[in-house]
């Protein structure tokens, strides 16, 4: 028997206040945006949708991964992931204004043009509003279902543990993985890749996955460190756990760069006009600066900051780089989405702030609300003491 020292503390209400402030401000900007220029607001809405989907689905993936590989060190943080994953319920809400603006977003909704274009006509069985809506709806339903199966069931274990919980959840995780792969890929294809419907890339789903993993892990790291530093996670969690967060963030920064570079190099090298135009759009005018910027922001800076051994377990540096990666993911989505809206150069104004404000506000509000009256450690998990006493 190993004793663990945990006393439940309620999260401070200022978390909710900040969340409401951010969400409120963002909501006003969004309303104004849709009123003034609904096309631009809709494009920003795509960024918002895909960011929140990354955080929610990414958290579910990390939970499933933990069960499948039998990791010990992350068990204390699993409850944070389970609470964070609740944001999948906000995803359909953010998709509603987009469904109302499909014609502004997607060229393939312009049927007369599609019928004249043999390539787009060929894609019609897939790229049509009906099937598109069905796919998204199915994805949302699956997200809810797996939230319950992977995360929701775990809360009851705190006080009434069932003997075979872990075994069953491992099986659920195994089932979840292929479904996750398909849902994530097709949501990325539908909402991001089909913005330029002539373009295609088989690695696109993997690219969105790399960003999803990074940002989900970054948000979890932020919650974990802030909560731990303020005594919400009991005693025993420290540098060795942080090291694993740092190492994984470092590894997936590398992975993102690898996938992004692979996609770019192959298209650049073969030089086929039917593929290169997508990158050429992102080299037009000031987009070139943004494109060079993404290498620096999403790869070079996190790489350099996280490279030294001690940096990976230093909470200050981890918090900094986790925030950095959150904004890097917004930047990545901006670079994916906005060139379709504004081909001649990057546009950035007050409207581009609303996805950030709404996303961060929503995460804070949902986390705070859902964490009420819940333990922040999965105290019913038999692996928890080993997780807390984890040493490298």
């Amino acid at each position: 028997m190993i004793a663990i020292n945990y006393q439940r503390k309620e999260l401070p209400s200022k978390l909710m206040k900040i969340g409401v402030l951010l969400l409120g401000l963002g909501f006003i900007l969004a309303l104004l945006g849709y009123a003034i220029d609904h096309e631009r607001a809709a494009f920003n809405g795509v960024i918002l949708l895909m960011f929140v989907m990354s955080v929610g689905l990414g958290s579910l993936f990390l939970i499933g991964l933990e069960y499948l590989v039998g990791a010990d060190w992350s068990v204390p943080f699993r409850r944070i992931m389970e609470i964070l994953a609740i944001v999948v319920f906000a995803v359909p809400v953010f998709s509603l204004p987009l469904f109302a603006n499909l014609h502004s977003l997607f060229h393939w909704t312009h049927i007369e043009d599609v019928l004249k274009d043999p390539i787009l006509k060929n894609k019609m069985p897939y790229l049509n509003e009906m099937f598109f809506s069905i796919r998204s709806t199915a994805a949302f339903v699956l997200m809810f279902l797996f939230w319950w199966l992977l995360a929701g069931r775990s809360f009851g274990q705190d006080y009434a543990p069932t003997g075979n919980f872990r075994k069953v959840t491992i099986r659920i995780s195994a089932l979840f993985m292929p479904i996750f792969a398909i849902v994530l890929t097709f949501m990325a294809v539908d909402w991001l890749m089909s913005l330029e419907p002539h373009w295609f890339s088989t690695i696109f789903g993997v690219y969105y996955f790399a960003g999803t993993f990074s940002v989900a892990l970054a948000v979890i790291t932020l919650f974990a460190i802030y909560l731990n530093e303020n005594g919400y996670l009991g005693e025993g969690i420290g540098g060795d756990h942080y090291y694993n967060f740092g190492a994984l963030l470092f590894a997936f920064t590398n992975f993102w760069a690898y996938i992004a570079f692979s996609q770019f190099l192959l298209i650049w090298y073969a030089n086929l006009p039917e593929e290169t135009f997508w990158y050429l759009h992102r080299w037009e005018g000031s987009w070139a600066v943004i494109s060079v910027g993404i290498i620096i922001i999403h790869f070079i800076v996190p790489y350099a900051v996280l490279l030294p051994q001690p940096a990976k377990s230093d909470p200050k540096r981890l918090k900094f780089i986790a925030w950095w990666l959150v904004f890097a993911h917004f930047y990545d989505l901006y670079w994916l989405v906005m060139p379709t809206y504004s081909a001649s150069g990057a546009v950035f104004g007050w409207m581009e702030l609303y996805p950030v404000l709404i996303a961060l506000g929503t995460i804070l509000i949902l986390f705070y609300t859902f964490a009420k009256n819940k333990n922040l450690l999965p105290i019913g998990d038999p692996k928890l003491p080993k997780g807390i006493n984890f040493h490298l």
Partner: protein, 461 residues
């Protein structure tokens, strides 16, 4: 509050002592080869001899002895190259990546896997060498200063392969050797005969087991593991670039890099698992190379096999989505054209059979897992066959289409490459410790001091 802790199985079963570890691991080296070993060596040497004759004939008479034709200019030569490089990747994954993830179960198999990597890369490196028309002039392929200002084409993926594979070989060799130094020193101190003592003294460089040295040794191990990880990913990525940077339908697709890497790990683990099952039985290493280890390897095969399956699916979907006639044709042709037999072998061996590993009973059943791993290797060989041959045989212009048939010399070289690989492996088993003595001792129960502080080692809260 207090919670009952789950008991986790020991990495090494049976609680052997340090001296027993020394003896068990050194025993294949100390003992003379027995008849079973000699028969095995005889078989692999025969296979190698077949390869030597086939390659000799190729050098003498030229590449015309192979089945390569127009338009299938790449066939068995490149299929075998990619196959063997892929096999090598499991070794580095086990030693480097599992080390970075602090997976102790790698200890029993890391040394062996690293050795397999080196032998697989040596075997693979043969193929680019022999598939040029005049291999004795291969030195011209290196960027040496010359009066004509002639340089290699640094933008060609074939040259990137040269750098990638030679770097991979060098770094893997160095990683393997560094791991061997303490073991050579242990063998030096156990050696009775003068010759063996001299050899092990030289090979161990005079290692003294000093903790001042161990401190830096652990750091270099971490650094090498940290470099070997992106290196191994980069090697098969660059191999995939050989195909993906072209404009050939079926080749030019952005998912090739991670798809090839996942496939390499997949086939590599299958080969490692097969060889380990044989080794643990013959040399009584079952308590070190445990069933738990084998089960974990099967799980990794399941995961990487699923990634390969995902890639197949994405290629298929995008081939339709892209609207490119040529791309769609290639995929339909793969499944229903003249090479459909190869395609369905590939799909069943890579996607269907490994799904059996979802079931714990099968994951822990040695004969069945052995067979599945053999099928995986067959399937992965056929995957490279399907990718290379079907795309080349039926590319853009129907007037250029031609069917490819391998010749006996092609098969001879394939057999020879397996012969080389297994012969080197058998020699390795008799000459060096196939399990890392020092690492195994370090993970035995009771080998490390008990922790008296929370989170010693790194900066805490």
């Amino acid at each position: 509050m207090s919670i009952e802790v789950l008991k986790e199985p020991s990495v090494i079963e049976g609680k052997p002592t340090f001296v027993e570890i020394d003896e068990q691991i050194s025993s294949p080296i100390d003992k003379s080869p027995n008849i079973k070993y000699l028969i095995a060596l005889g078989i692999t040497s025969t296979m190698l001899l077949i390869g030597v004759i086939s390659i000799g004939a190729t050098f003498f008479y030229g590449i015309g002895l192979w089945g390569n034709n127009n338009p299938v200019g790449w066939a068995f030569d490149i299929i075998n190259f990619v196959f063997w490089v892929g096999i090598g990747h499991a070794g580095t994954l086990i030693s480097a990546i599992l080390f970075l993830f602090r997976q102790k179960w790698r200890t029993g198999i890391a040394r062996f896997a690293e050795g397999m990597t080196i032998f697989a890369v040596m075997t693979a490196a043969l193929f680019p060498l022999i598939h040029v028309g005049r291999p004795w002039l291969a030195g011209y392929l290196f960027p040496y200063p010359n009066q004509h200002h002639l340089w290699v084409n640094f933008t060609s993926p074939l040259l990137w392969d040269v750098f990638a594979v030679s770097t991979y070989f060098t770094v893997s060799f160095v990683f393997w050797y560094i791991g061997l130094i303490p073991d050579f020193a242990t063998l030096r101190d156990r050696a009775k005969s003068g010759v063996k003592k001299v050899i092990y003294s030289i090979l161990s460089l005079g290692w003294r087991f000093s903790n001042r040295h161990w401190h830096n040794y652990e750091m270099i191990y971490l650094i090498l593991a940290g470099f070997a990880t992106p290196l191994v990913l980069s090697v098969h990525t660059i191999v995939s670039f050989d195909f993906a940077v072209s404009i050939m339908p079926g080749w030019h697709t952005t998912i090739f890099p991670p798809y090839f890497v996942a496939g390499a790990v997949f086939s590599g683990f299958a080969m490692v698992q097969n060889v380990l099952i044989i080794i643990r039985k013959i040399f009584n290493f079952e308590h070190i190379i445990t069933l738990d280890t084998l089960e974990k390897m099967n799980k990794i095969m399941l995961a990487t096999g699923s990634m390969v399956g995902y890639a197949y699916g994405m290629e298929f979907f995008i081939a339709w989505y892209s609207g490119s006639q040529f791309e769609s044709f290639v995929f339909i042709n793969r499944a229903f054209g003249p090479y459909a037999w190869a395609y369905w072998i590939m799909v069943s061996c890579n996607v269907v059979f490994p799904q059996l590993f979802w079931f714990k009973k099968i994951r822990r059943n040695i004969p069945i897992m052995f067979v599945i791993a053999v099928l995986v290797n067959v399937g992965m060989w056929f995957e490279r066959f399907v990718i290379i041959v079907t795309s080349l045989a039926h590319d853009f212009m129907p007037s250029s289409w031609a069917y490819y048939k391998p010749t006996l010399v092609d098969f001879g070289i394939l057999i020879g490459s397996s012969g080389l690989f297994f012969t080197l492996l058998l020699l390795f088993i008799k000459a060096m410790p196939v399990i890392s003595i020092a690492e195994v001792k370090a993970v035995l129960d009771g080998a490390q001091p008990h922790h008296h502080t929370h989170n010693g080692g790194r900066n805490g809260k």
